[in-house]
Assembly symmetry: C2
Homo-oligomer: 283 residues x 2
């Protein structure tokens, strides 16, 4: 018995924070149970990237799953509260080579805090064409890491090396808005090989563009995000722990809502994911 | 009785095809019933833009609805077959000023053919900023309408005036791919004032980019699309029947899936919606 506990402990100790915080355990009534992890705490709830990765994990680990993720849409309905939560996930439809999913994350005192839909597919080699080309930015080694101390906990779990559009807090109301465009090299701390869980989390890593544009905090939060995956699990795995390049931009900030477009590139110049968001703000 | 029938008939006669084809009738068991409309027939099923508009309508007409659409994600799970279909729609969560939706479209012999999630919100005046600027293209009056005769039925319900990247059918396998970028002025035939239904449909109006890039038909279909709405119903209504400008592009075509980014602009240069898709193809 002691041996067993000790083995569990060392397994938990070697789990990467992303794997630890997204863990789900089946319940007797067919749901999955998870517990929020303070390491991923954001302003008023866990970081949305972790919530997205958790729902992705519920799909990835479902025994009926076929293929790999092609698209994922997360709707953030309410802040997830500290403590336990439950995930209900179901394949809505399974075709020969594609599968459609719906998932809900609920909490006893909150109700539905997030919903997700996804498309998975068994992808095959086809004609291929990549009209989008990677941006030309300095290598990550030449760039300084953003200091993350004293900020939201989850920021300490990533190394952010901005080439352009670094997060800034020096803006004031009435000033000319800065460009919403950012180029940033990203890698998790501690290191962890890239996979769909990590890529899903990365698609919410870009600071909400209004912070970049205005340069100071306003009440804000992502309400819906969609990620399209352009790599296979095998390709992600082959990239190992090398940093990826994120490019985030925005087109409009208007009447409580702002958008975001983001691309995630491998260091070798492969487009891994395209990510879109609409976020709420108040000012 | 005859008078009643005659009144019904004239009501049906004056309905715009979009309003007629997206009509939903409550059933005794709390679902909504609709019937496919041949006027919107695409290659193997109704045009996805109509399916999206139909699910949007189910949300817009729900008695518990608050606010207006901010985002909509449609997942096309299976081709909708000719005949009747049923929509189940529910507000998953209603906050003070935002509301989250889930909807499914099912058919007796097909099962789930489409799912949708959406975020609605009561939007208020805030600080506003529009970094994206409208492209400079010739006015619609100076451009020829694309001939639509002999193609899929639904194409006859729109006037397409391409400034760049017109739909082409002159490509051959092995040729250099064309640019995926298109600029096209769009208006429905017959004319119909713009609203969220029309804008939802318009977000699926761009020919799947692989057709543009390769210049010939391959097996293909949209599997997931997300639209972000950047205008209020009042603003859309004020635009009346004037054409809107669509700009569609793509970044990647790889292993059965290709993406699309599209912006919809008012003639006066306002960004009305941003639309994203992932589509399946085989070649």
């Amino acid at each position: 018995m002691n041996t067993h506990i000790s083995a569990d402990r060392s397994a938990a100790e070697i789990l990467h924070p992303l794997d630890r915080a997204s863990r789900l355990t089946p319940t007797a009534d067919g749901r999955l149970r998870g517990v929020t992890d303070d390491a991923y705490w954001n302003m008023a709830s866990p970081w949305g990237g972790l919530t997205a990765a958790t729902l992705m994990r519920a799909m990835m680990e479902h025994p009926g799953r076929i293929g790999e993720p092609v698209s994922l849409t997360l709707n953030f309905c309410a802040p997830v509260a500290r403590g336990e939560f439950f995930v209900v996930v179901r394949p809505v439809r399974t075709n020969r080579s594609t599968q459609h999913w719906y998932a809900e994350l609920t909490q006893p005192d909150i109700g539905v805090a997030a919903t997700a839909t996804a498309v998975f597919a068994a992808r095959r080699e086809t004609w291929s064409h990549r009209p989008a080309t990677p941006p030309d930015v300095p290598p990550p080694e030449s760039l300084a890491s953003m200091p993350t101390g004293g900020s939201s906990a989850w920021l300490n779990l990533y190394n952010f090396r901005f080439a352009t559009g670094e997060m800034r807090r020096d803006g004031k109301p009435g000033e000319k808005p800065a460009s919403p465009l950012s180029h940033v090299w990203l890698n998790p701390i501690p290191a962890r090989p890239l996979d769909f869980l990590a890529l899903t989390a990365l698609s919410d890593i870009f600071f909400i563009r209004i912070l970049q544009v205005r340069g100071y905090m306003v009440p804000m939060g992502t309400v819906s995000m969609t990620t399209y995956f352009h790599a296979t699990g095998e390709e992600l795995s082959a990239l190992g722990i090398e940093p990826v390049l994120g490019v985030a931009d925005a087109k409009i900030f208007d009447r409580n809502f702002a958008d975001q477009q983001a691309d995630i590139w491998s260091r070798g110049g492969r487009l891994l994911a395209t990510c879109y968001q609409i976020s709420w703000f108040k000012e």
